[in-house]
Symmetry: C2
Subunit: 573 residues, 2 copies
C-alpha cells in the first residue's frame, strides 16, 4: 500500500487538504472520516438557507458546476474515500492508528495512517441554563440545525424569535427571520454593543440603529437566565426582562473541538484550540491540523487567536495539502478580516477594534471618516463610514472597520487594507493607496485615502476630533462650557438653530475669519459640519486666530444621523 | 510679506497642494493661476456629463457639500487667491518670478514666488491629419469641450459618432453616446485591440464582445487619415474604410504640458514629462510639480511612466502641500491601477499586462481564472475574470487585470492586489490574501485566492493551460493532431457533440480514470470544462496515467463564451 493520509473531519478544511494533496500525489491513498452523513457543505450559507435566499439545502453541498459533494463525488472525481457516520474515538500516535466507531452499527475499527489531519471543527458554545434542550431551541451549526429551523418557521406557526448572541451568525439569522419570514425578532447580547469583538461602540451604534429601523429589538448588557415553556420554548428570561419566543436561536459563539488532539497528547491551548506552527503541523510532525479547531497567529498582535471562518479553513487546507505532499507551504497567520450583510447595510473589518488595540497595550489613535463611496457627482453614490486605528509609536495600522450601504464597495476598501496589513501597513500607506479610480467606483481622493490622511493628521496633532457619541455627551452635559458652532451654510443649519435656540450657533466656514468676534474665547468651541471636512478647516482657522480649545466632530452630522443621535430628532426634555 | 507660494494650474493637483499647504501654514500666502475661467473641476466626470448621468456641469465643480469651487470659494473658505484667465508665460528661476499674461486684457505681470508649483496638466494628443479643425470634431479635455459635445448631441441632429482611440476616455464617451443618446457609434483604434496599454488581447476580446453586443462598432488596427465634410465633419476616412459621422471625438491619448518647465531649464523627459524626485521636487528644489504634467516612478519596472489620473494628482498634491510646509512627505510611485465602466461590464487592473511584462524583459507567466464573484450558492452571483501575470524568477506579481459585471466587486479585488503590489506581492501572497469573507460578497476560496493558486501551480509546472484564443486556433487549425475532450457532464456537453460530431468528445471528469482507453495517446489531449477546474483535475489524472501531452483550457467554456468564441455558435463552414 502506498502512503496513506487520514483526515478526521470532512467539512471545509478536510476536503480542501485532501483534494490539494491528491492533485500533487495522484497515486496516494486518502481516507476522510466524518461523524455526519452530510459532508463538505458550505456552513456559512446556513443563514441564507434559513432566509430562503438559498432555496434547497443541496445548493450548499454542490460544486459551482452543480455536482453534489457526497461520497460518490469524492470517490469518482477526487479518488478519495469518505467514511460517513464514523467517529474518530482515539489517536494512537505510537502505532499511528486512528480508532474509529461507526455511529450506526457501533463497530470499532482501527485505521492506520502515515500522515494524519485533524479537522474536527468547532461547536456552538453551550449555555449552562435551564431550558436549552426544549424543543424550539436551536443552534445553527450544521445543516440538520438549518433544516430544523427552516422547518419550524415555514409552518407559519412561529411568530416571535429570540436570538441569543449578536455575533455574525446571530445577526445573519436575525436578519433572515425578520426580513424573509416577517418574524418579530429580539436579539439579546451579554456585552454592551453588537459585534463586540469586531466593532467599536460607534460603528456598532450605526448598525444597531439600522437594525432597529428594520424592527429588530436589541437588548445589550443582558444575561439570559433560562428558557421556559410547556413542553417547548415559549419565553426567554433574562436578568432584566421576559421575552416571548416561539423559536430561540443560540448563537453565543463557538469553541474549538480540541479533545481528540488533547487526548492524543498534542499541544492544545487553554481555550481548547489545537496549536500548530506556520506549516500547520501540530506538536507531532506527522499530524497536521487547521480550520475551526486550531489557533492561528494574529499578525497584528503577534499572539494567537481562534478565527473560525470558512475562508481560513480553505487557505489552511491548501497549505496542509501541499505540505502533506512534501512541500514547504506556509500559512502566515491572519489579520482577521470579516464582512457581514445586515438588511440594507453592511459591515466589514480587519485587525483590532479601537478598544482591542488599547487592551493589547497599544497607544492607539482612531480616525473616523464618512464620505461618499464613489465620486460625489456620480449617481447612486452613498455615504460610507470607515474607522482606522493606528499605533502612535510605530504609525502602524492596527485595524479598520466600516459600515455602509454598498457591501461590495465596503468589502473592497477593507480588503485592500487587510491585504496591506498582512505586510505591515502604516498610516501613510493608506494615504497613497492606489484603489483603482474611476467616478463610478471611487473618488479621486478615495475614502480609504482620506481615512489615512485623517489618521496622519491626528498623529501629527493637527486634527482634534471628537466622536458622535462624545458630541452627544457634550451637547447634553457640557452646554455651559461649550459653544456649539455649525459651520455649514445657513439652509443646512437653520432647522437646528430653530430647534435649539441659544444653544446652536451658525457661521459658515467660509465666513469664520471675518466673524471671529462672534465666538467666545473662554469656552470649548465644538465645530460641526456635514461630515467633518469644513469643521476641520474651521478648527485650523480658529487655532490660527488664537483660540485655545477647539474640537471638531469627526463624521459630522452624518455620523450623528447614522447613529440615531441627530439633535433635530432629540426628544423634548 | 510672509512666504508666498505660487501655483500654476488650478485643476486637481494645484488646488490640492494649495489647500493642504494652507491647512499646515494658515498664515502663508498662496496664489493660484489658471488660463481658464473655470477651475478646480472633476475632469474625470466629463463622460458622465456627456451621458447625462451628471445633469449639470456645475456638479463637476462643486464640493461634496455643494459649494462651487470658484475664486470666491477659494478666497473665503481657503484663503487662497485665484487668478483666472491668466497664463504663465515664463519662469525666471534666478529672480524667482513667474511672468504672467491676462488672456482677456493682454496685460503682463510678474509674480514673485518663494516656492513654485507647476501643475500644467496634459493636452489631448493632436492628430496631424486634414479636417481635425472642422466643426463637429472635439476632444473632451475640459468643460468647454464637454459642453460643446453635449450641446451638439442634445440638438438631436447627430445620429452617428466616430470616436478615435479606445483608451479610457474614448470608451467612456462611446458608451455615453450610444447608451444614453442612442447614437450609432464607431470606435477606431490604431492598435490591434482595445485598451491596448491596459489589457491583454484576451480580456480586451471579452470587453470588445460586450461592446459589440451593445451595438458599438469597433475597428482595430486602423489608422485615421482624414476627417472630411462640407463646413463640418461628415465622415472619417481610415486606411481601410470611410465612416459617416456627425460627431468626431478625438481621444488618442494625452501628452504632458512640459513646455513651461523645459523653457525654465528644468529637467524634462524626452516624452515631455517634468521630472521629479519622490518628494515631487523638480530639478530646482524651490519648484515642485505633479499631476498630468510629470513622470512618476513605476513601482513594478523601476522605470518612469506618465499616469495622468485625477487620483494620482490628488495624492501627489497632498505630498507637495506637506513638503511646501517643510514636511518630508514622499510619493512612492505607482503601480498604475485603473478602472472603467462599459455598459454592463467593468474593467480594472494594475501593473503590467502580459505583453508589457514580456517587453520589459520579464520571463512572465499569466494565469486566467473565471469564477463567481461571491459564493456560488448566493443569489445574484456573476462570473468574474481575473488575469494575473507573475515573474518566473522572483514569483513577483507584475500585473493584474479583470473583467466582470459587478464593478465594485472587481475593483475591490484589483484594489487589494494593487495595494499589495506597492509593497511587493508574490503569487503565494494572493493565495492567502484575506479578502473579507461572507457569502454575499466573496467566496471561501475567493477568485483573488484562486488566481494566486493557479499562478503558483503554473510556476510549479503543474497546470498546463491554454487560453480561449489558443483553443480557437487549435480547434480550427490542429484538429488532426488534437483530441478535444469535454470533461463536463453529458447534459452540458451534449449540444457540442451534436454540433461538432467526431471532433468533440465527452467523458465527465469523474469517469476519466475508468475510461482512459477511449482517449488516444498519440494526440495532444485538449481538456475543457466550464471554467477550468475539472479540466485541470482531468489533466492530472491523464498525466498520472502516462499521457504525455495534455492541455487544459484556462477559463473553460466561460472564457470562450465571453470572448465570442463559443464553438456552438460557430458559423457553418
Amino acid at each position: 500500500m502506498s502512503e496513506h493520509v487520514v483526515i478526521v473531519g470532512a467539512v471545509a478544511l478536510g476536503p480542501k487538504a485532501a483534494c490539494r494533496f491528491k492533485r500533487l500525489r495522484p497515486g496516494a491513498q486518502v481516507t476522510m472520516i466524518d461523524r455526519d452523513r452530510i459532508v463538505s457543505y458550505g456552513g456559512c450559507g446556513i443563514p441564507y438557507f434559513i432566509s430562503g435566499d438559498v432555496s434547497d439545502l443541496k445548493e450548499l453541498r454542490t460544486t459551482s458546476f452543480k455536482l453534489v459533494r457526497d461520497e460518490a463525488f469524492f470517490h469518482g472525481c477526487k479518488d478519495i474515500d469518505v467514511l460517513t457516520r464514523t467517529e474518530a474515538v482515539r489517536v494512537d500516535r505510537k502505532r499511528k492508528v486512528v480508532a474509529t466507531r461507526n455511529l450506526d452499527t457501533g463497530v470499532e475499527t482501527e485505521i492506520p495512517y502515515d500522515k494524519l489531519v485533524l479537522a474536527t471543527g468547532a461547536s456552538p458554545r453551550k449555555l449552562d441554563i435551564p431550558g436549552v434542550d426544549l424543543p424550539g431551541v436551536h443552534a445553527v451549526a450544521n445543516l440538520h440545525d438549518a433544516e430544523a429551523v427552516r422547518g419550524l418557521i415555514s409552518t407559519g406557526k412561529a411568530g416571535r424569535a429570540v436570538v441569543v448572541g449578536s455575533g455574525f451568525i446571530g445577526l445573519e439569522v436575525a436578519e433572515a427571520l425578520a426580513e424573509m419570514w416577517g418574524l418579530e425578532v429580539a436579539v439579546v447580547e451579554l456585552m454592551d454593543h453588537l459585534l463586540p469583538r469586531n466593532l467599536s461602540p460607534l460603528l456598532a451604534r450605526m448598525a444597531s440603529h439600522h437594525l432597529q429601523e428594520k424592527g429588530v429589538e436589541l437588548y445589550f448588557g443582558e444575561k439570559v437566565l433560562s428558557i421556559e415553556g410547556d413542553g417547548k420554548a415559549e419565553r426567554v428570561v433574562t436578568d432584566k426582562r421576559v421575552l416571548e419566543a416561539d423559536l430561540v436561536v443560540l448563537a453565543a459563539g463557538v469553541v474549538p473541538n480540541g479533545e481528540l488532539a488533547r487526548d492524543a497528547g498534542l499541544a492544545v491551548s487553554p481555550r481548547g484550540g489545537v496549536q500548530v506552527d506556520e506549516t500547520m503541523r501540530t506538536s507531532d510532525p506527522d499530524i497536521f491540523s487547521g480550520g475551526d479547531c486550531v489557533e492561528i497567529k494574529n499578525v497584528i498582535t503577534g499572539g494567537s487567536m481562534h478565527l473560525p471562518l470558512g475562508s481560513m479553513a480553505n487557505r489552511q487546507g491548501r497549505v496542509i495539502g501541499t505540505n502533506l505532499a512534501g512541500g514547504d507551504a506556509v500559512f502566515p497567520g491572519a489579520v482577521g478580516s470579516f464582512a457581514v450583510k445586515l438588511f440594507e447595510r453592511n459591515i466589514a473589518g480587519a485587525g483590532l477594534t479601537p478598544e482591542q488595540a488599547k487592551q493589547a497595550g497599544f497607544d492607539a489613535v482612531s480616525a473616523l471618516v464618512i464620505q461618499f463611496d464613489r465620486a460625489h457627482f456620480f449617481p447612486g453614490k452613498e455615504l460610507m463610514s470607515l474607522e482606522v486605528t493606528v499605533d502612535r509609536a510605530t504609525r502602524k495600522v492596527l485595524g479598520i472597520q466600516g459600515f455602509g450601504p454598498s457591501g461590495d464597495a465596503l468589502v473592497g476598501r477593507v480588503g485592500a487594507v487587510a491585504a496591506l496589513m498582512q505586510k505591515g501597513c502604516r498610516a501613510e500607506d493608506l494615504s497613497v493607496l492606489e484603489y483603482p479610480y474611476s467616478p463610478p467606483f471611487s473618488s479621486a481622493m478615495d475614502i480609504v485615502n482620506t481615512v489615512g490622511t485623517v489618521a496622519e493628521n491626528m498623529l501629527a496633532g493637527l486634527n482634534q476630533g471628537i466622536s458622535a457619541e462624545q458630541f452627544e455627551a457634550y451637547f447634553e452635559g457640557k452646554q455651559d462650557s461649550c459653544f456649539f458652532l455649525d459651520c455649514r451654510e445657513p439652509d443646512n443649519a437653520g432647522p437646528y438653530l430653530t430647534r435649539h435656540p441659544g444653544k446652536w450657533h451658525n457661521i459658515p466656514q467660509g465666513q469664520l475669519r471675518d466673524r471671529l468676534d462672534e465666538i467666545p474665547r473662554d469656552k470649548t468651541v465644538v465645530l460641526i459640519c456635514n461630515t467633518g471636512i469644513r469643521s476641520y478647516e474651521g478648527q485650523i482657522t480658529l487655532e490660527q486666530a488664537g483660540f485655545k480649545d477647539v474640537l471638531n466632530v469627526h463624521g459630522g452630522m452624518a455620523g450623528l444621523k447614522q447613529s440615531g443621535l441627530d439633535p433635530l430628532k432629540q426628544e423634548e426634555a
